[in-house]
């Protein structure tokens, strides 16, 4: 078995799929070079990311399936789940081997898996769009998140159109990078802007008012913590100002 190692980027991963075909490899797996451990068996081959190759795979996928299926494919990549490369390779093989669009053949394991993982990633994206809590420091609204999957690339457009007239910044604490919107463009950054580092300890008046609201809108006669926690799992509480002591 040989292992194709890519640089961790989506383009790199698609290039690796291309190489599997170009080199007619069947007994092969694809792994992230940064994450993979050296294998005892077989050979490791480094993939050189090539946008021409990656585009061909990407366009091919879209042509043989649908926009929605391509989106799901990308979501699987962002899931960073162990072995997602194997599933996506199997999925791609099934798609390219079939004459018709098989992206909704849910009784096929790779198709089903891709749809299920995409749904999990979609749920996390939706959660982050809901649970981001901006603080205002100087002129910039900023927030930190710690998503289970790498959903920052997915949530950018949502925040950009919603908060088009304010500068904002969202930092992924788990992956150490952020998105910065400067009233014009979205930018990926690897350091937090200086102004956001100041006075984060002080809770703003609006954050406290929000907590007041959150408590007052609750109906104690209907209290149901089990349901509450199901909707707002504990691991997200530290980012929600309404769940902080005043």
């Amino acid at each position: 078995m040989s292992t194709l190692e890519y640089d961790g980027s989506f383009e790199g991963f698609l290039t690796a799929i291309f190489d599997c075909y170009a080199q007619k490899k069947t007994d092969v797996r694809i792994r992230n070079a940064c994450a993979s451990t050296t294998t005892l068996f077989g050979t490791n081959i480094r993939v050189r990311t090539d946008t021409e190759k990656s585009n061909r795979v990407w366009e091919g996928l879209k042509k043989r399936t649908t926009k929605e299926a391509a989106r799901q494919f990308y979501c699987n990549f962002l899931s960073e789940l162990p072995d997602f490369e194997d599933h996506l390779l199997e999925y791609a093989r099934y798609v390219f081997a079939s004459r018709e669009d098989v992206s909704r053949d849910f009784s096929h394991p790779a198709v089903l898996r891709t749809a299920q993982v995409a749904r999990m990633v979609g749920r996390e994206k939706h959660r982050m769009e809901a649970f981001v809590r901006f603080q205002l420091s100087g002129e910039i609204y900023h927030a930190s998140i710690h998503p289970d999957y790498n959903v920052l690339p997915l949530i950018g457009p949502h925040f950009k159109s919603r908060y088009a007239d304010q500068r904002w910044f969202i930092w992924d604490e788990a992956r150490h990078y952020g998105l910065l919107y400067d009233l014009e463009h979205l930018q990926v950054v690897h350091e937090t802007p200086e102004e956001t580092q100041a006075d984060t300890a002080r809770t703003s008046d609006y954050a406290r008012l929000w907590k007041t609201y959150f408590q007052s809108t609750n109906i104690t006669e209907r209290r149901n913590m089990k349901l509450h926690v199901q909707h707002v799992p504990y691991r997200y509480w530290k980012y929600l100002c309404e769940k902080q002591p005043l």
């Binding site: 926009k67 929605e68 391509a70 989106r71 990308y74 909704r104 053949d105 849910f106 009784s107 096929h108 089903l112 299920q116 749904r119 979609g122 749920r123 994206k125 939706h126 809901a130 649970f131 981001v132 809590r133 901006f134 603080q135 205002l136 609204y141 997915l154 949502h158 925040f159 159109s161 919603r162 908060y163 088009a164 007239d165 304010q166 008046d205 609006y206 954050a207 406290r208 008012l209 929000w210 007041t212 609201y213 959150f214 408590q215 007052s216 809108t217 609750n218 109906i219 104690t220 006669e221 209907r222 209290r223 149901n224 913590m225 089990k226 349901l227 509450h228 909707h231 929600l240 309404e242």
Partner: protein, 446 residues
Amino acid sequence: MNYERITQKLSILADAAKYDVSCSSSGSKRSNPDKKLGDSSGMGICHSYTEDGRCVSLLKILLTNYCIFDCAYCVSRRSNDIQRAAFTVEEVVDLTINFYRRNYIEGLFLSSGIFKNADYTMERLVRVAKTLRLEHGFNGYIHLKTIPGASEELLREAGLYADRLSVNIEIPTDDGLKKLAPEKKRDEMTTPMQHISTGIVASKEERKVIRSAPAFAPAGLSSQMVIGATGESDLEIMQTADNLYQHYQLKRVYYSGYVPISNDQRLPGLGSPVPMLREHRLYQTDWLMRFYGFQMQEILHPEYRNLDLALDPKTGWALQNLHLFPVDVNRADREMLLRVPGIGHKSVDKIVAARRFRSLTFEHLQKMGVSMSRARYFLLCQDKNEVLRRAPGDRTQLRNVLIRQAHSKYRSALVQQGSLFDQADETTGLSATAVPDLHHLFADSL
């Protein structure tokens, strides 16, 4: 901003508004073309959940809880000895904008007690919406509750700035309304509904021709009923709801289990339980009517006036109609698949897509996430032997099996009168407050 004063007002006026259960923020197409603030073109987001498990999507407050009326079921009634407060228009605008910018909310749901008179109150509600839209370029979601008796002119203006308008029916039966809110007239509710519904239809037509014509309440009209305050039957409730859907094109009707707030003889006393399970069954029925192709009369009729609390209404219906089952998964049309207990829209989508490729077995369905615990009694798959064969006339036995199943699943919820039910539930194929318009996950592209 005077922080202390605003805090006090906010706690009073949020507390007084919490009994209105609507918190939907979907259905508007308001986008943000001019790069100002806000975008409501998506599905609507629940930004948080209260400890009672309800979605928090909007800043839901009253402009004031002063009221000249004395509706027995309402905390704000004039004879109630409580703290009163009133926001200014500017204060509501400021809170909305600042909460929105921090991503706490999708927008504002503003309602009010009636001070002075209906128009005086309504005019202020409209002014809040107008200020948000025109002075702040706000494209977030705005839901205004209309004040009974407000003039047609103000309603028209409200519809220009709000995404959704609501007119609450409050008490499902006319008798109940007379008893509990003698100052209110039913036609003060139905007349505004008529105006608004006409306005919505007209604006939709106009926008087909002239795309830039102003939208009128694009997220539609909704209403709410209080459940269990007057001894009404489920049939009466759903008849009223059905009538609202049919005649006024309502987007949603909300059912709100009465939370006891006084020891008024006419009402369930303090400490009586909130009828949450009943409320849940009503929502399920509502869903069957709106999304599953059921007629109200199929579920409730004069010989069957109240829903079975032990089973969801779809299963209840299936048990009454066993001659239509089992349904063949590989052949049945969408409509019939949707009527199978335990199968929801998502499952039907998957089944219909997947069976094009091969005949589906019990195992396929399970792997696809179709919850088979209930559906298996009503389905026929490729491998027929997996199906539990029923002898005809087994209805009672099957019913008991299904109840036992539902019980073990929901026991904890039943004990604490909780509403675990409110989650999206593919088992019943139904969900109550986890409405589909709030919970669509994917609205965007790559």
